[in-house]
């Protein structure tokens, strides 16, 4: 059994191109955060700065390409464009 609060698909996250970060509402009122580059490095946990809850983000590395494009930064090597 997972000990994170929830599993959230990447399409349900909000992407902030200027911050190169995804967020998702936390039941405490703040937002779970995870950086695009961290996801590329294989991290799947998004954390809330205001409480102890965390979520697992469900995605494939290939899903990240469009967000690199949105942020206007070059694709890291390893993603097929």
């Amino acid at each position: 059994m997972s000990t994170t609060y929830d599993q959230i698909e990447i399409e349900d996250m909000t992407f902030h191109p200027e911050l190169e970060m995804f967020t998702y509402p936390c039941p405490c009122g703040d937002r779970f955060e995870i950086l695009l580059d961290d996801m590329f490095d294989g991290i799947k946990l998004a954390v809330c700065p205001s409480c102890s809850l965390m979520i697992d983000v469900i995605f494939e590395v290939e899903d990240l390409a469009e967000y690199y494009e949105q942020a206007g930064i070059a694709l890291p090597e390893g993603i097929a464009a």
Binding site: T3, Y5, E9, E11, P25, C28, G29, C51, S52
Partner: protein, 374 residues
Amino acid sequence: MGFNVYCLGSNGRGQLGLGHCNDVMVAQKSIVQSSDEVRKVVCGGNHTVLLLEGSGSVLATGNNEFGQLVGGPVVDYTDWVDCNGPWSTPRVLDVAAGWEFTAIVDENNIVRSRGAGPRGELGVGLDTCSGNSNNSGGGFCTVMECGSDDEVKLFASFANCVAVVTTKGGHCTVYGWGSNTKCQLQTPKSKIVDRPVVIYETDDPVDYAALGKNFNVLVNKRGEIVHAAGNLPSGFHWEHWKGVPGLQVRCMWSSIHILDLKGSRLSFGFNLHGQLLDTAFPQDMYVTDTCMGSEHGVVVVKELDGSQRVLAWGWGEHGNCGRLSPNQSDSDPTSVINDKSNEVSPLNEILVVDPDKKVKVWGGCATTWIVVSS
């Protein structure tokens, strides 16, 4: 008539209306008013909106980053703002709040929305109003105009809003808008439904909608579940409940809680933080009111001697389920600040109320609201 509003819990953006932004874990008096009654307290991620019964007045506090409360440059209100003036709406008939938005039914039976709606939460088309994020507009968008004889009720949670519109003849149309990634509004799945769509229609009027994070449940006036859609908690099959009258259905973000006529309580959904009440709740308690927050619950129970107690359970990391120690006094101002000593709360007493008072409870995102009327 008059009332006192007590609150506790998450307060990072002033959503408790206490004049500061500290989380508190002992119920604090936030509003004292000598007339009128509270009809509803609704909560977004970080804002709170309170509707008065008789006057149709609205008070609001908390995060205003997207104009979810009023127009103007104030990002966070830590004290209550009178909204009817700024809204140019002398009388509000109903109100609902989701993550970063507020919706109302005004005195002309027009449904209006304000705040941010990146997932269609404003119900007016993404192109029309959701660019409101710089707070410059400050105004309402018109979602839909209902007939002057219609009864219109609003419900919201997270990224969805639902309007139940019943004509005088008894025909009922339920509209929904916002996120549809879990088919909570309609099939097929779509990311966003940014204008009202009919999610249910009937001649057997719907009384209310109970909304979770990614699902909604409709209950008719006999207390029967008549519709459920979205990513429903596992183990909950609404067909099993079809035709069972007298149910009270309440939802946290990730769970459904059903109280039946016999006083049984059944819950379905996440339980990592003790959210499910059937595991923690003595069956012989006489419950007079129940409400759910994002991941905690609040009930009012009446004892045989008439005394009333308000209890909370579930995820209490922000102090929203109270302090576990028996010494809950608000006379010592330092002791009310949340110390995270009650993160997973058993059924816990947060307020004792005199037998002759009327008590109602509401829950927000880790906030707990208790209204005591004289």
